[in-house]
Each structure stands twice: as structure tokens, then as C-alpha cells.
């Protein structure tokens, strides 16, 4: 007889433990967040079944190339990685060769050659100091991980890119700074990057700032987590397997313990 440690009691302890744990973890993650509320968008890649929208990602790459890449690098991304968002090898070769990288030839001289698919994205500045010098002292961060490197990254990025408004009359905006309602402290070194029809989309999508912000965010979200679709797909199979395993072990346990429980 093992009824003494009444089931009711231990079940309740378990529930308490789990709920306290959830409270603990969730309050901590709330505490870490910023106080500014960003508009919460419904991204195709959020949720456990979410995937990237290829068309949006490709438009996002165009926005990155034509607008952002003037100042922001993506040093962790290689041109070959673009295969994952739907480009073929010839397109990638052509895309890469628009940039040039330094190499050392057989005579030991530093020469330029066109970038290959195996090269990493060429950064706009040779080093951090050059980047700062060209931007009034503000460093344009590398965008390879930007969506993962900010709390609520995708919504934050979209909000930031569309958050340029006229400064309130009591707010002084110094030279070389701009007012953004979603930036912490509101004064940002980056001028408003996206304007109506700033790029011309090949697929005919209207290039509103909001649309461009969404597209470039979709592209950058992928750049931050290129494994995301594989991860979720594998996750579903693993969860199904574990569900089955849990059921199997549960009923085996019940059967094995049955004679003991009957005593």
C-alpha cells in the first residue's frame, strides 16, 4: 500500500511548482524588456509553425542592398546562403560579383577581384573606425544578427524603421541626430532610411515605407536565424516522437507497477 503519500497532495505540489516556475521565468523576461511598446505585427515566421515568406525576403534583400548596405554590413552572411531564400547559382554569382574583395596575387600584390558565392557579404567600410568617421561618430551596427540581438527584434526593427516623426517642440534635436519615437532616448544617429517608393520592386508591390520595413525585417530575421525553418520542421517530428514515447513509457509503467499498487 502506498496510498499514504496521497496522490492528491503530490499532484498539487507539482502544479504549484510548475506555476511558480512559469511566473518566475515570465516575470524575468518581462523585466528584461524595454518600456517602449512596439506595434505587434503578425509575422509569417512567428509561432511554432511559422515559415519565411520568400517573396517578402527577396524584396527585403533588395531593400538591404539598395538602402541599408550603404552603411550596414552583414559580415556573417555568405552570398551562397542566398540559395535558401530562393535564388539559383547563376543569380547568386551575378549578385556576388557586383562587389569586390581584396586578395593577394602570385606576385604578392594586393589586388581586387569580384566576390564569389563563397565570400561573406562585403561590408561597406574597411573597419569600425572608418564606419564611425563616415557617420559622424555613430557606428552603424552589423545586421547579421540584429533581429536576435534586440528584445522582440522583428517588431522592434519594423517600429524603428517606421518611427521617424517630427520632434515635439520641447525636444531639441542636435545636428546629426534624428527623432524616432521608438528608439530608446528618441535621438538616433541614423537618418530616416525608408521613403515612399525608395526602391522599385520587380514584382510590382507598392514600396511604401511600411512595406519596405516589413520586407527588410523578414530578410534580416532569416539572416539572424537561417536555421529556423529546419529547426521547426525537425521540432515537429521530435515532438511527435516524444509524445509517442511518453505514452509508451507511461502505459508500460502502469502495467509494471500494477501488481505493486494492488497489494
Amino acid at each position: 500500500m502506498i496510498k499514504y503519500s496521497s496522490k492528491f497532495f503530490s499532484n498539487n505540489i507539482l502544479k504549484l511548482f510548475v506555476s511558480l516556475l512559469i511566473i518566475c521565468i515570465s516575470s524575468v523576461s518581462f523585466g528584461a524588456g524595454e518600456k517602449i511598446n512596439y506595434p505587434q505585427l503578425n509575422w509569417s515566421f512567428s509561432g511554432i509553425l511559422g515559415t519565411f515568406d520568400r517573396a517578402s525576403q527577396q524584396r527585403g534583400l533588395q531593400v538591404y542592398k539598395e538602402v541599408c548596405s550603404g552603411c550596414h554590413g552583414m559580415r556573417l552572411l555568405a552570398y551562397r546562403n542566398l540559395k535558401a531564400i530562393g535564388y539559383n547559382e547563376d543569380e547568386i554569382k551575378a549578385f556576388a560579383s557586383e562587389n569586390s574583395v581584396n586578395t593577394i596575387n602570385d606576385d604578392g600584390e594586393v589586388v581586387e577581384r569580384p566576390a564569389r558565392p563563397s565570400d561573406k557579404f562585403v561590408s561597406p567600410y574597411p573597419n569600425d573606425k572608418a564606419a564611425r568617421a563616415a557617420n559622424g561618430g555613430a557606428y552603424p551596427p552589423d545586421l547579421s544578427l540584429i533581429v536576435k540581438a534586440r528584445p522582440d527584434g522583428a517588431n522592434y526593427l519594423h517600429a524603428l524603421l517606421t518611427g521617424y516623426i517630427d520632434a515635439p517642440s520641447d525636444q531639441k534635436v542636435p545636428d546629426g541626430m534624428y527623432y524616432n519615437k521608438y528608439y530608446s532616448g528618441n535621438l538616433i544617429g541614423m537618418p530616416q532610411p525608408l521613403y515612399e517608393d525608395g526602391v522599385e520592386y520587380a514584382d510590382g508591390t507598392k514600396a511604401t515605407p511600411d512595406q519596405m520595413a516589413k520586407d527588410v525585417t523578414a530578410f534580416l530575421a532569416w539572416a539572424s536565424e537561417p536555421e529556423m525553418e529546419d529547426r521547426k520542421r525537425l521540432g515537429i517530428s521530435v515532438m511527435l516522437f516524444l509524445l509517442l514515447l511518453t505514452a509508451l513509457t507511461y502505459f508500460s509503467m502502469k502495467q509494471i507497477w500494477a501488481p505493486i499498487k494492488k497489494q
Partner: protein
Amino acid sequence: MSKSKFKNPVVKWIDHRLPVFSFMDHELNHYPTPKNLNYFWNFGSLAGFALVTMIVTGIVLSMNYTAHVDYAFDSVERIMRDVNHGWLIRYIHMNGASFFFIVVYIHIFRGLYYGSYKAPRELLWILGVLILLLMMATAFMGYVLPWGQMSFWGATVITNLFSAIPLVGESIVTWLWGGFSVDNSTLNRFFSLHFVLPFVIVGVVILHLVALHRFGSNNPIGIDVKGTQDTVPFSPYYTIKDLFGLSVFLSFFAAAVFFFPNFMGHPDNYIEANPMVTPAHIVPEWYFLPFYAILRAIPDKLGGVLFMFGAIAVLFILPWLDRSSVRSSQFRPIYKIFFWILLFDCILLGYLGAMPAEGIYVLLSRIATAYYFFHFLILFPLLPYIEKTKPLPISISEPILGGAATASAFATREKK
């Protein structure tokens, strides 16, 4: 043992000369285990599983990691992007640390609730606290390796704590760093220690198991096993129960790894370490937050460090702080209430550790810290003098209470 129980001639031959099979048969198969263990007794084996998972994934990660300030961050990203299934291994390792702590914290609170640290299991408990301490050191150094902003600044803040030691503090910090700031030599030695400490943990875990098997598991009623009628052989009863527990654990673990891999991390650690830029809030990993809150609750730096380490130190002497001879809280009506207060207190400390050290949070941290030490240093020794414990059952398999089976009778039995 004169007649071998093994049929296989090779096994028989080996076992006669090197009795490993007899040993395993004895400790993992026949090992008598109380038959009334509830699911909270699953967390020991889960912790063992987590340790092995961390070691295996860690070794694979180390094959692709570069411990150098210029390459560490990029080598981790290379693992995430270019190494086949590198993201999976890294996310298992990263979330595995959190899950290891979740499991171990539940394991510890189970011990607190059912009095598993009491005689004759004092050394078993102390070895467990030692494992916790080693885990904390290992986890802290592991968090430095990706060389993100939180890695760097966390390392700076925590190593700087040693500067609070009078006279030699500054020299100790320089010695720990291997230089005058957290830099390449710090990263290198942290990698080296992060690699070796888990094997030290394995060693202490083995001692923990040897001590466990000396008297066997405690149980929810907390009274000693009286005979074979109170126990079942470990296999198949607890092997299957542990397997079921493992399946449930893996389901939660996999959900985190595959669907919310960065939930328990900090976004700032995806920004490469930069000694020139300090993050707005430097927060340690969640499992250190209660201790971090205690550290910040004390207005004096050295005092804070002493109280923080004191929070662990009291665990070491707990078997002698608690004067009650009744193990399980089921029979300690007053202690049971305080147990839940302590659990709430620890969770509150964890919450406060994540908040900025200002305003109401400072006051709350001080109250919560005071309660923590009150609980261990005053409540545990004095409560038994006030508390009237409930009568204990005669045995595990005998739920009906005998007239004489009171707490005092139990205590005299214990002394024999």
C-alpha cells in the same frame, strides 16, 4: 555469490576476475528502493541525464569553437550557420544549462521538503551542495565563451567581486584575469576550466551515488525502510518510472530547443563583446538571479559577497541546523508552511535579481534576503522546540497508525 548468476560464459569469466557485472546487477537491478517514491524522486536521474547531455554536446562544440577574443563570437556563429546541425548541438547545450538548473533546483527543494539531508544522509546532501557549487562555476564560465556583450560584462562584474576581499582582493582579480582586464587570457582559462570542471562534477556525482546507495533513497513519508515489504527492486520498477520521467522532461526540453531556443537567453549576447560599450542592465543568467539579488541587497560590497556565498554555505551545514528528527514535512505542520514561504522567497529573490537595484526593489531584496537567512539560521534550529509533529506511520507498507508510533518513538528508533 559463489554460484555465478550470469549465464553468458564471457560475462561469467570477466565477472569472476572483475566483478563489474555483479556490481551493476546489485546497484542498478536488485537495488532495493522504497516503493512509495513520488515523481519528485525522478529529478535525480534527470540531473544525471542532463549532465551527460551537457558533456556530450560540449565536447562536440569544443571541436568547432575557437577560444580567442577575435574569433570566439564568429566561431560560435559558424557553428550556428555552417556546421552540420551545429545549431541543434549549440541550442541543446545552451538550453541544457537552464534545464540542468531547473532539474537540480527541484531536486534540492525536494530534499528540503522531505528532509532528505537528515541523518544518516548528511554527506549525501553535502556532496550535492558541492555539485551545485561546481555547476555554478562551470555555467558561469561557459556563459563567457560565446564572447557576447553579456558574456564579457557578466565576467567583468562577477570576477570583480573578488576585489572586495581586503588587502589581497585586487591582486586576486588580476591573477584570475591573467591580466589587467577580462581579456584573451581570461577567455582561454575559462574555456580550459569549463572543459575540465564537468568531469570533476562527474567524480562528485559518483561519490553522491555511493553515499546514496549506502542507505538508499529517502521517501515521501521520511521513515526508514523496515524490510523487503517496503521496497521494490530498482529494475524494472524505477527504471521504467525514470524512463517515463525522462520522456516528459525531454518533451519540455525539446519544445524549448526547437521552438523557443532563445527564450531563456539575453538578446545582448548576440552582440559581440565590446569593452568600450557597457550594456544598460547587466543581468546574469536566470539561475543566478536569487544570488545576484542577495549580493545587491547588502549595501556593502564585501558584505554582499559574503552573504551571497553565505547563501550556499548555510546549505552545507543544513543537516546540523535542522534539529528536528522528523524528516518529511507531511508530519511537520508548521515547517510545511515555512517551506512554501522559503520557496516563494527564493523565487521572489530571482525576480528581484532581474530588476534594477532601485526604489522598492532594494527594500524587497533586503526583506527577502533577511528571510532566507532567518529560515536557515533561526527557524531550522528553533522550530522543533515549538512544533508538535504529527504521529508517524509504523512502516511504509503499513499506512495505519499504531498507537505508539509517534514522533518520539520514531526518534528513539532512529538512535539505535
